[in-house]
């Protein structure tokens, strides 16, 4: 084929192959659309390649190692060693397995994949630069699913030893000392993982608390665990500069007006993410972004240009893979002529910290502002048979309900498997379940979800496994 300005016609172009884009592509293909998926790096996006999946693999490895060195069940003695290179190899194999799976699904659904960088040259045309050529595609519809990237601090430019989470996930050795700027969920997850691998970790957080979006009773439990693993946490800290040398990096920061420094092998900067909307040629498409760089969309994900949709991290809302996937399905269905809309009651959010944290819906304060009366029920892991028998007695489930109707409006889980327990609670909220519904549903014994049932009974005033005060 001649290289040049030949324009090809495509029904649907999806820009970005992350958890938003590939899901949208598959759903659109299922609905009979001819789909071209453009991905500039790896299918699966940040989530599969540089985010959710590899970080969870590393966290699991760290957990495993920690059990080895600290012991889990008394009487079982381990002698553990770590070959971090092999751990990384295993992690890579996990990622590969997942991305290959996605690749197979895309191909099986007849989605055409093109590796390259796409930008708009008009409201119905994109230009794709591959390694070897440039090609224009004229589309009937387009879904922008380009995701987000780590915010770079002007004072701490990324370099050999100042890392984003991507590099931090791929270190070939366990660093002796790791400094983390940002006590959000990525900072806490990776900080705890590396602390378990043996790194001496310092976390600097600008606000007065780590995980600032979460309730203090949640962060207290995380702080306790961080302390146990000798992670130093400095709150109210403002990172000023990082000076790299051949062997280490000196991070200077200010706290309470006092300048301090920490020397580390690496500094991980994780202070938020920004949408990838600046290099897409959105002007040419006639689409404007807001002051945060986000693309305004309607309830189906449609932008101001009705042929173009946007989903995931490039639109408003939490930058979460599961939100992107949901929106991807809605956009694909809308393009296929269905009446789908972004219409969820809640989005669960999980922090794979130690202990795990998972929240959904409203917290108690938010509920208090919306409902005249709020009822809560909290039940501790320590009184649950399964929790104690897996040696994970730390944590609790808290339910928040409309006090008048008993309808569940929010839930918080801190403790082992919180990431899995939250699913029942998200379903309960979507199904308008009441505290009674939860209490009257038989939960298998002995399992962690019994804590949910007990928490509902606490809220109703009749817990079996807890004495009333």
């Amino acid at each position: 084929m001649v290289v040049g300005e030949l324009t090809e016609e495509v029904e649907l172009i999806v820009i970005g192959g992350g958890p938003g884009g590939y899901v949208a592509a598959i759903r659109a293909a299922q609905l009979g659309l001819q789909v071209l998926l453009i991905e500039k790096e790896d299918i699966g996006g940040v989530c599969l390649n540089r985010g959710c999946i590899p970080s969870k693999a590393l966290i699991t490895a760290a957990e495993d190692y920690a059990k080895g060195i600290k012991g889990n069940v008394p009487g079982i003695e381990h002698s553990v060693t770590i070959d971090f290179f092999k751990v990384q190899e295993w992690k890579e194999s996990v990622v590969k397995k997942m991305t290959q799976g996605v690749d197979t699904l895309l191909k099986g659904n007849q989605v055409k994949i093109l590796k390259g960088e796409a930008f708009f040259v008009g409201p119905d045309e994109v230009r794709v630069m591959t390694d070897t050529e440039a090609h224009n595609y004229h589309f009937q519809h387009c879904i922008i699913a380009t995701g987000s990237r780590p915010v770079e601090l002007a004072s701490l430019p990324y370099g050999k030893r100042v890392l984003t989470s991507t590099e931090a996930l791929s270190l070939q050795n366990v660093p002796k000392r790791l400094a983390i700027v940002g006590g959000g969920y990525i900072g806490i997850e990776l900080g705890q993982a590396y602390a378990k691998f043996g790194s001496q970790v310092t976390i600097l957080e600008g606000t007065p608390s780590i995980l600032p979006a979460f309730d203090p009773s949640i962060t207290r439990l995380i702080m306790r665990s961080l302390k146990e693993w000798k992670v130093e946490v400095v709150t109210g800290a403002l990172a000023k500069s990082a000076v790299e040398s051949a062997d280490d990096v000196q991070l200077t920061y200010e706290v309470n007006g006092e300048e301090r420094a920490v020397i580390a092998d690496y500094v991980l900067v994780t202070v938020g993410r920004r949408p990838n909307t600046d290099e897409l040629g959105l002007n040419a498409a006639g689409i404007a972004v807001d002051e945060k760089g986000l693309i305004p969309v309607d309830q189906q994900g449609r932008t101001s240009e009705s042929r173009i949709f946007a989903i995931g991290d490039v639109v408003a809302g939490p930058a979460l893979a599961h939100k992107a996937s949901y929106e991807g399905k809605v956009a694909a269905e809308a393009i296929a002529g269905q009446h789908s809309a972004v219409d969820y009651s809640c989005i669960p959010a999980v922090v794979f910290a130690d202990p795990e944290v998972a929240v959904v819906g409203l917290n108690e304060d938010e509920a208090g502002r919306l409902y005249e009366k709020v009822t809560t029920g909290r039940f501790a892991y320590g009184a649950n048979g399964r929790a104690v028998s897996i040696n994970a007695a730390i944590g609790y489930v808290k339910l928040i309900a409309d006090g008048n109707s008993g309808v569940l409006v929010g839930a918080q889980v801190v403790g082992a498997e919180a990431s899995n327990l939250i699913a029942e609670l998200a379903l309960a909220i979507e199904m308008n379940a009441t505290l009674e519904d939860l209490a009257l549903t038989i939960h298998a014994h002995p399992t962690l979800p019994e804590i949910v049932m007990e928490a509902a009974e606490v809220a109703l005033g009749t817990p079996i496994h807890m004495l009333k005060k």
């Binding site: 309830q299 009446h339 308008n432």
Partner: protein, 446 residues
């Protein structure tokens, strides 16, 4: 003793205001719960507003004839202590008992009470109407499970408008179907003279998914807009209209009006062409009385009206209103000019009374003021004729073998072809033309 302030309640879906037609109570009077306070009129009906509580009327916030909007202070009461303490519940039952369903939000009741005044947002609406789900507090959810929300979307139903019959107002699949069903058939049975076309979402509109969009702003229909829709649909679908179009040579009328302008200025009257057109129209109606009639299909008869009440279609911010020049045939040109200017200003400022918009026997619609020429006016049903007036344009016309400057006025006469045939309509239009062309004839018509 406590003060209880009663806010003007919603009278029905989409009805956000009402005119206080008559106060039944007066200040200082002791009223019991449920006793009527006032008669309030909207474009659909007159509704009695019952008292939410027992107490002494301290203040009536509106004078008769004034328009009250939902949520505005309406009546304040002095109540005894018992009532004050329990009034968060009381208004609810009282209005329900009176045949109105209420959803009440006791929002931060404590805060308000501590300020010494108890307020309560009551939203009263006739019980046979759909009661929107209670969740009007932003952020609060409408109780409906995802599959039911999807069902609603697929049928173009705003889930927030569906009344939930489940526990705690939860909306079930059946509720969504009931809502759709209601939209199809909750109108009363019509008699034969009424059009079978009622305003309801079309099949297509219903299939449109409900969601908000950045491509469109959703504007709920005002009660006036709804009335306009209903009236026009009824007219267009029951009376087969035909429109005759023609031009009147108003050269002489233009110069006459120019002469009279000074006199008008002295009298402080704004003299437009409209009074002349009214006169000319009445001349034609008199000559062709079938154009000033009403078809009574039920009794198989045509009522020829002996009075000439001319409706004047008036463009206002709130929508098209048609104030009526009652007994226009008895009015002098000056009286017509004055009356037109009073009525149109009342219509524009929203001060027009319902009776000032009733009883017309034929109407005039003027598109000339908006620079329009010919058009096909819709009858102000059940009238049989409407005269559409276009702009006056300068033209060269042949008169007595010579090309002369003239002023031509565009006229469009729509009529109900069930009552009047084309020839008669054209003769009537010719009469209008002739009178307008020869202002001296107007003298004879007074």
């Amino acid at each position: 003793m406590g003060i209880y302030q009663f806010e003007f309640p919603e009278l029905g879906e989409g009805i956000h205001e009402g005119k206080v037609a008559k106060w039944i109570v007066h200040e200082g009077e002791w009223v019991r719960e449920d006793e009527p306070l006032a008669e309030v009129e909207n474009d659909k009906a007159v509704v009695e507003i019952p008292s939410p509580i027992e107490g002494k009327v301290v203040k009536l916030f509106f004078s008769e004839g004034a328009v009250a909007s939902v949520g505005e202070p309406f009546v304040s009461f002095e109540t005894n202590g018992v009532t004050e303490n329990s009034n968060s519940e009381m208004p609810k039952t009282s209005i329900e008992d009176a045949g109105l369903a209420t959803t009440a939000h006791e929002v931060k009741q404590a805060e308000v009470e501590s300020a010494g005044i108890t307020t309560l947002a009551t939203r009263a609406m006739p019980i046979d109407r759909k009661v929107p789900n209670e969740e009007t507090i932003p952020g609060r959810r409408v109780l409906a499970i995802p599959s039911v929300r999807k069902l609603a979307r697929e049928h173009g139903v705003n889930i927030a408008e569906v009344m939930g019959t489940g526990e705690h107002g939860k909306i079930t699949r059946q509720d969504v179907f009931a809502y759709i069903e209601n939209q199809d058939g909750d109108e009363p049975a019509f008699n034969t003279t009424e059009a079978p076309h009622q305003i309801k979402p079309s099949e297509e509109a219903r299939k449109k998914p409900f969601f908000t969009s950045i491509h469109e702003d959703i504007v709920p229909l005002s009660s006036i807009r709804k009335s306009i829709m209903e009236a026009l649909v009824k007219s267009k679908f029951s009376a087969p209209h035909v429109t005759m179009m023609d031009e009147a040579d108003v050269t002489e009328l233009v110069s006459l009006r120019n002469e009279l302008k000074q006199m008008a200025a002295v009298r402080e009257v704004k003299l437009t062409f409209l009074p002349f057109i009214v006169k000319a129209f009445i001349a034609a109606l008199k000559k062709y009385p079938y154009l000033n009639s009403e078809l009574d299909e039920g009794n198989a008869e045509i009522k020829l009206k002996k009075e000439y009440h001319i409706g004047i279609a008036t463009d206002t911010d709130r929508g098209l209103l048609v104030p009526v020049l009652h007994h226009a045939n008895h009015m002098s040109m000056w009286e017509l000019a004055e009356q037109i200017s009073i009525l149109s200003s009342k219509a524009r400022t929203g001060k027009i009374k319902l009776e000032e918009m009733k009883g017309s026997t034929a109407s005039i619609s003027n598109i000339g003021s908006a620079k329009g020429l010919f058009f096909t006016p819709i009858l102000n049903y059940p009238e049989v004729a409407i005269l559409g007036v276009g702009r006056i344009r300068a033209a060269l016309v042949r008169k007595d073998g010579e090309i002369v400057d003239a002023h031509m006025m565009a006229l469009s006469l729509s009529f109900d072809h069930r009552v009047v045939d084309g020839a008669m309509a054209q003769w009537a239009l010719n009469e209008v033309k002739e009178v307008l062309a020869d202002p001296k004839r107007m003298l004879m018509e007074v």
